[in-house]
């Protein structure tokens, strides 16, 4: 009997999960369909760009700086064994633009901006603001969701770029200024080895995909949250957990497609 019940439970969970993915996909398509307002009245999107992007700058810059500094230190320690300290610039830059920039910036973006989006929309729902908007004949997906979606999609690649740039500076500070690696080889090898299409563009594509996924998850969780304190807190947690896992899984898939071990 308990085995039967366990199987039923598993089946129920699977059906619910598939159902939820379907609802989220429909939500995403509706967001795209009602995106006209976000561009016609671009000031709505700019307002969200400020709270999503600009307000995330501090955490992105500080984290980027420290990640770059650690990369510089660890990279130097490893490269020194092979007498290749001059390649430190290449290692720091490739590590950042290909992987750490998009991934760590997206993880921070999910925790800082994603959780805020979920909580804000969840509370708007709990306090009937979304119902009120519908009763005023204003589509909440067009007015509330779509501007936030585009703000997330636009700001994520910019934040990742900022993260990588500051990270390179952190690596330079530790490697060149503190340890004394040759400045000329640090920059020239980086310039020679980092390819615009292969490395930078692929990094931008990654951060664009992560930005889209994180923002959709955050907005959907907020919009779908039960209108209670417990519901909103649960939705906020789910946003951070689901987006973080999605970022890491997608990163592997994208890396496998883009680089294929070449």
């Amino acid at each position: 009997m308990s085995v039967k019940r366990s199987i039923q439970n598993i089946g129920h969970r699977v059906v619910s999960a598939v159902w939820r993915i379907g609802v989220a996909t429909r939500f995403f398509l509706l967001t795209l369909a009602y995106s006209g307002t976000s561009f016609r009245r671009f000031h709505l999107t700019i307002k969200e760009l400020f709270s999503t992007g600009v307000m995330s700058l501090i955490i992105i810059i500080v984290a980027g700086l420290f990640v770059g500094m650690v990369l510089g230190l660890q990279g130097y320690e490893t490269l020194k064994r092979y007498g290749s300290e001059s390649a430190l610039g290449v290692m720091v830059a490739l590590g950042l633009v290909r992987e750490l920039g998009p991934v760590v910036a997206a993880l921070l973006f999910a925790s800082r901006a994603g959780s805020a989006m979920t909580a804000e929309i969840g509370l708007m729902k709990a306090t009937e603001q979304i119902t009120a908007m519908e009763m005023m004949a204003v589509n909440p997906i067009a007015r509330i969701v779509a501007p936030r979606f585009w703000a997330g999609v636009i700001s994520m690649p910019l934040l990742a770029a900022m993260f990588s740039a500051v990270g390179v500076f952190g690596g330079y500070f530790v490697g060149v200024v503190q340890i004394g690696v040759d400045e000329g080889s640090f920059w020239s090898q980086m310039q020679a080895a980092v390819d615009f299409r292969e490395d930078i563009l692929n990094g931008v594509i990654k951060s664009f995909v992560f930005g889209t996924v994180v923002t959709v998850i955050a907005l959907f969780e907020g919009y779908d949250a039960p209108p209670t304190a417990e519901g909103v807190s649960g939705a906020t947690t789910r946003t951070v957990v689901t987006s973080s896992l999605a970022i890491l899984m997608l990163d592997f898939i994208l890396t496998a497609i883009m680089f294929r071990g070449n």
Partner: protein, 267 residues
């Protein structure tokens, strides 16, 4: 439908899953009148309001507003109809990321091409009507509960709706705010020539201002009449409700098992 009725509700039935919430509701809201729908919490009042606003579809019957059956409208038709309606929510539902001014201006900016100078004057006039012109630069978090309700009222009537719905407008207000809001509901209805429906369980305040009352219990209408008829009613339910008596057809105890058995005293 009487030509004087703005809202006509006929044989309205609604069920959540298979649990009936509304059964065979018939109502008429004549134009220009202020109607109250009263009843205990959970009797289906708010569900009825959501049917009038088109947020729910009936399982049987219909709600007709200004000659149009609400649940048969497509999204564009429903949104066009909602532009002619206003709804005041229980706790105001002001947009917390906007100032008082922007809240009242919201519908004007969304639905009209009025120049900002004209919107400015209209917003101040609406706020003046509810006595809160001086609060236009404040944020909703800086308002008291009664003030937030009045700002929400100004936002509700921003586009001069023909039908105004109030969901528990008196809940949680102090006696002065309660009288102020009640008085505003009556005055705005008369000034705008609108039709208003107030869903409430605040008997005394509503009987002072409304023209007609429907009493609901368990999803059906159990009594109706003018405020004087309701005050004089000898029906058990109405008397218990109007006078707030403990004894009556509405039991004090939620249905449960045998008390002695629950206390493990044996039968």
């Amino acid at each position: 439908m009487s030509p004087n009725s703005l809202v006509e509700i006929r044989d309205l039935n609604f069920a959540y899953d298979k649990r009936p919430v509304l059964e065979g509701i018939n109502m008429d809201f004549p134009r220009g009148k202020l109607i109250a729908i009263m009843g205990l919490s959970g009797c289906g009042k708010t569900t009825l309001l959501r049917h009038i606003g088109g947020a729910l579809k009936p399982t049987k019957g219909y709600v007709k507003v200004d000659g149009q059956i609400i649940h048969e409208l497509d999204q564009d038709g429903l949104y066009a109809m909602r532009r002619k309606m206003g709804m005041l929510f229980q706790f105001g539902a002001l947009f917390t990321d906007m100032s008082v001014y922007d809240n009242v201006a919201f519908q004007m900016r969304e639905h009209t091409d009025l120049p900002e100078e004209l919107i400015h004057d209209l917003v101040l006039m609406k706020l003046h009507a509810v006595g809160l012109r001086g609060t236009h630069s404040l944020m909703p978090s800086e308002l008291s509960g009664g003030m937030a309700r009045r700002v929400a009222l100004a936002r509700t009537v921003a586009l001069d709706p023909m039908l105004i719905m109030y969901d528990e407008p008196f809940a949680g207000l102090d006696p002065i705010s309660l009288t102020v809001v009640g008085d505003l509901i009556r005055r705005l209805n008369n000034a705008l020539g609108a039709t208003s429906v107030v869903v409430t369980h605040d008997v005394q305040e509503s009987l002072k201002i409304v023209d007609y009352v429907y009493f609901m219990a368990n999803g059906v209408i159990v009594a109706e009449g003018t405020p004087d008829e309701i005050r004089a009613s000898e029906r058990d339910f109405v008397r218990q409700f109007v006078h707030g008596e403990i004894d009556g057809p509405v039991p004090f105890h939620y249905p449960g098992g045998d008390y002695r058995q629950d206390l493990a005293l044996g039968a």
